[in-house]
C-alpha cells in the first residue's frame, strides 16, 4: 500500500504509522463522561471508505487524514490533519 503524502509525495507503508478513526473529535473538558468513553473507545469501523489518521513518522512527521477503502485498500485522498499548516504556503 502506498500513501501520497501531501508533503513528501507517494511513499510506501513502512514509513507510516496508523492511528485509526479520524472522524472522532476530542470532547470538551466538561463534556459528559459518556462522550469521553465514546471518544476513547468507540470507533467507526466501516467496510468501505474510512477516514483515518496516519503519521508519516519516517518521513516529514506530519499527521495525515487518509480516506481509504477498507475492502479494497484503495486510497481516495490524503490531507494534512488539522489546520497546522495554515501558514505553510500552498505546497503545490
Amino acid at each position: 500500500m502506498r500513501l501520497n503524502c501531501p508533503h513528501c509525495g507517494e511513499r510506501s507503508l513502512e514509513e507510516f504509522t496508523y492511528r485509526g478513526d479520524a472522524t472522532v473529535r476530542r470532547p470538551a473538558l466538561d463534556a459528559p463522561a459518556e462522550s469521553w468513553v465514546d471518544y476513547v473507545y468507540l470507533r467507526e469501523n466501516p467496510a468501505g471508505r474510512h477516514e483515518e489518521y496516519w503519521y508519516h513518522g519516517a518521513g516529514c512527521r506530519a499527521w495525515l487524514v487518509v480516506e481509504r477503502d477498507t475492502t479494497t485498500h484503495m486510497v481516495h485522498g490524503v490531507r494534512p490533519a488539522g489546520a497546522a499548516s495554515e501558514n505553510a504556503r500552498s505546497e503545490s
Binding site: 508533503h7 510506501s12 499548516s85 495554515e86 501558514n87 505553510a88
Partner: protein
C-alpha cells in the same frame, strides 16, 4: 582549566572504497533547525532573503544562499539551515529569526555519509524505498525516508555522482555498515548505470 574538548567522529575510518564506490563521512557542518511560528513564514522568508538571499524551499529541494547557507526541508513544517563549520550560523540566525521561528542547534545530531561513484544509485536503491530516477530525484532533491530500518534524509548534491545520507548520529555506525554491505553486494546486472 582543562584543555578544550575535541570532537570525535561518529564513524571510522573516514572513508572506504568497494567496487569502485566510496563511502565517506562528510565534514561536519553547522546545522540549525528552523521551525516557523504561526503566521510568521512570510516575515521569516523576508528576513532570510534580505540577509542570505534565499527563502525556505516549499518542496524537498535544497535552496542555496549567500555565505554558504543551504536550506532544506527537514519536516512538514521545519527546515534545516546548513553552513560550513565555523560560520557561526546560530549566532547569525538567532537575531534574524527572533520571534519568528524556533531555532535549535542540530549540528551534532546528524552526520552525513556520502556515497560516490558509478552505481551509487543502484546501491542506494537497495536501502531507500524512493524512486531515484533523475526526473524524480534530481540534483538538489532531498527525501525524508528510511534506509533499511534507519530514518535518513537522502539528498542528491549538485555536481557529483552520488547521494548523501544524513542520519541521526547514534545510527551512523549501523547505517555505515548497511551501506557497506550493499556496496559489497555489487550492482544488480539488470541495473543501468
Amino acid at each position: 582549566m582543562p584543555d578544550p574538548l575535541l570532537p570525535q567522529p561518529a564513524v571510522q575510518p573516514p572513508s572506504i572504497t568497494v567496487n569502485g564506490l566510496t563511502l565517506a563521512l562528510a565534514p561536519t557542518r553547522e546545522t540549525v533547525s528552523i521551525g516557523p511560528f504561526a503566521k510568521c513564514l512570510p516575515d521569516l522568508d523576508a528576513a532570510l532573503a534580505s540577509t542570505f538571499g534565499v527563502t525556505l524551499p516549499a518542496d524537498f529541494s535544497t535552496a542555496s544562499g549567500q555565505d554558504g547557507l543551504q536550506l532544506t526541508k527537514a519536516a512538514h513544517h521545519q527546515w534545516f539551515a546548513h553552513a560550513p563549520a565555523g560560520a557561526g550560523l546560530m549566532a547569525r540566525l538567532a537575531p534574524l529569526c527572533a520571534g519568528l521561528a524556533a531555532l535549535t542547534n542540530q549540528t551534532d545530531s546528524r552526520v552525513t555519509l556520502c556515497l560516490r561513484g558509478t552505481g551509487a544509485d543502484a546501491v542506494a536503491a537497495k536501502l531507500v524505498p524512493v524512486d531515484l530516477a533523475p526526473h524524480h530525484f534530481g540534483p538538489g532533491h532531498t527525501a525524508l525516508t528510511l534506509a533499511g530500518h534507519i530514518p535518513v534524509i537522502l539528498s542528491r548534491p549538485d555536481g557529483t555522482s552520488g547521494l548523501d545520507f544524513t542520519v541521526f548520529r547514534s545510527f551512523a555506525r549501523s547505517l555505515h555498515h548497511d551501506i557497506h554491505v550493499a556496496m559489497k553486494g555489487g550492482i544488480p546486472h539488470s541495473e543501468r548505470v
